[in-house]
Symmetry: C2
Subunit: 329 residues, 2 copies
């Protein structure tokens, strides 16, 4: 019994000859170790929980790939839970995962509330946040700087000579991908001496249709924006199509920049200039970080901020020269 356990677990204290015999018997009988019993006895399940807002979102799916790749590299399986972006569900799923005795959890979500903190901090296993960050900075997390990224995207447009720069934001209830990117936009405007206008902001929901709707708002203005920053690639593509559907051209009439760099960014004409977020890496690093906690390894920085950059494609004009206008201030 114990020897079989040793063989199955690769314990070296087994005489090679008996190991052979055990292995033969295992093969013979088609014996399959019971991971549940093992989990109960050893208190390790080699399973980690993953909470994801929407598995069908290209952004989160890519994070999930990063998580899964590293997890399988470390021989962990993943219990994947789609929270459908609902907070009560996030909490409930986290508790279920804890009941299932996962060795750790990677949590993806939008907003981290007090309730989240309560559940997370009382958990007996490590939890790391991927693609988000808790407001108090207590929890380990892996993300980019949404503020900087929003600032950079806007500045990129301003540097091309644009004075009338609009933004399609995400839901502002989302403190990072929604609010912080928006704040970065305002900062860039401010720094360039451009006045912020409410009519140049459309609150979207990251989806394609929001981009279409945003264009409807912007193009009904007397002073139409000449450049648009969308907080997601999907919305940016919606913006491009909205513009094209009106007979205008991108980037000749309007420059467009997106956010994320999902594959869609290359599957549109013109190809989308966008802020690239290392989605796969965010997932991978988060999972790697989790393995360290699960193995009680030392971790120096529990909050990791990965770099972003701008990938310039064809939806923004390449020439810096531009028929500037002065009315915009």
């Amino acid at each position: 019994m114990a020897t079989v356990s040793r063989v199955v677990n690769g314990n070296p204290n087994v005489k090679p000859s008996t190991r052979k015999k055990v292995l033969a018997a295992i093969e013979q009988l088609g014996y399959r170790p019971n991971a549940v019993a093992r989990g109960l006895a050893s208190k390790r399940t080699t399973t980690v929980g993953v909470v994801i807002p929407d598995i069908a979102s290209p952004f989160f799916a890519e994070l999930a790939r990063g998580i899964d790749d590293i997890a399988s590299m470390y021989k962990y399986n993943i219990i994947l839970c789609d929270s459908d972006e609902r907070i009560e569900r996030e909490l409930h799923l986290t508790n279920t995962l804890l009941e299932k005795q996962v060795d750790g959890i990677v949590f993806m979500g939008r907003e981290i509330t007090e309730n989240h903190m309560q559940v997370f901090t009382t958990a007996s296993v490590p939890i790391v946040l991927a693609g988000t960050k808790d407001p108090t900075g207590q929890l380990p997390s892996v993300d980019i700087s949404h503020y900087e990224a929003g600032y950079d995207a806007t500045k990129h447009l301003i540097e091309k000579g644009h004075k009338r720069v609009a933004m399609v934001t995400g839901p502002l209830i989302d403190p990072l991908a929604g609010m912080r990117r928006f704040e970065g936009y305002k900062k860039a405007l401010d720094e360039a001496g451009l006045t912020f206008k409410d009519s140049y902001v459309y609150n979207g929901n990251f989806r394609y249709e929001s981009g279409l709707d945003a264009v409807e708002q912007f193009m009904s203005l007397v002073e139409q924006p000449t450049a648009i920053f969308a907080a997601s690639d999907e919305m940016a593509v919606g913006v491009i199509h909205g513009i094209q559907d009106r007979g205008l051209r991108v980037p000749e009439d309007v420059d467009v920049i997106g956010f994320d760099n999902i594959r869609l960014a290359e599957m549109v004409r013109p190809r989308l200039t966008t802020v690239v977020q290392p989605m796969y890496d965010i997932g991978a690093v988060a999972m790697r970080l989790l393995t360290k906690y699960m193995n009680n390894e030392k971790v120096e920085n529990h909050i990791v901020i990965l770099p972003h950059r701008i990938e310039e494609r064809q939806s923004t004009k390449s020439n810096a020269g531009f028929d500037g206008e002065k009315e915009a201030e």
Copy 2:
């Protein structure tokens, strides 16, 4: 001890007053039942395994959503395993899931080999295939008729008057989404008296780039096709862009029809006419079917074929009238 178990599991044989007391104590102590111990004792883990070729593929992600929704409706959790389209990995993951004592498995994959059958048929829990089907028809499965769908798509093009209809296939090693759709294409051609030409076929891999490459092949021909059927929406969008990049127009110069109806089909100009496959439903029905097997319910049809249909959008000409040509035969 036993009474607590009864309370936790909702067993009615408990006096309401003691139930109250137990519940209070649970709350008081912050007691969290251990699902692993429960699984060992009861031999049910309320967890199902899901094998998926690529979590980042919009097609499979949508299936996964269907699976997950129904699973959570029935209080199951999901261990999600990305096989990365590699057969050995599929087999290995299936075995791991079995070791983890999942109550059932939903399997998504391309080809079902002898080796698969061996593992599947010796498993002690039910396994259902989603988005595929085993060649022998022994295993429960949920899918569409790829042959019919390929036939319908091609016929749709032919009925618009096209004589030169090309196809971008999936990998022909994929017996269904690759081969069967292709066979349907050939059937429709044959039935319409059109001769099949090798040069009108491009073997793609379902990805966007394949569509681009296919156009390169097709447009180098003396007799260029006037209509193209792509076996996936991604490839179809690649085809559209390939055509547009050459200064031609869709559908004025070439009609294009895709396959799947992923969200991308609406996020392109012109919007893509496509064969709609009920992706979410395939996943949902597969999971529902699995629950029946797990509960030992009667199942009448273990192979279910869901309907497909063609959604006509702007990438195919709406008028049946067409400047036909006769050289094509």
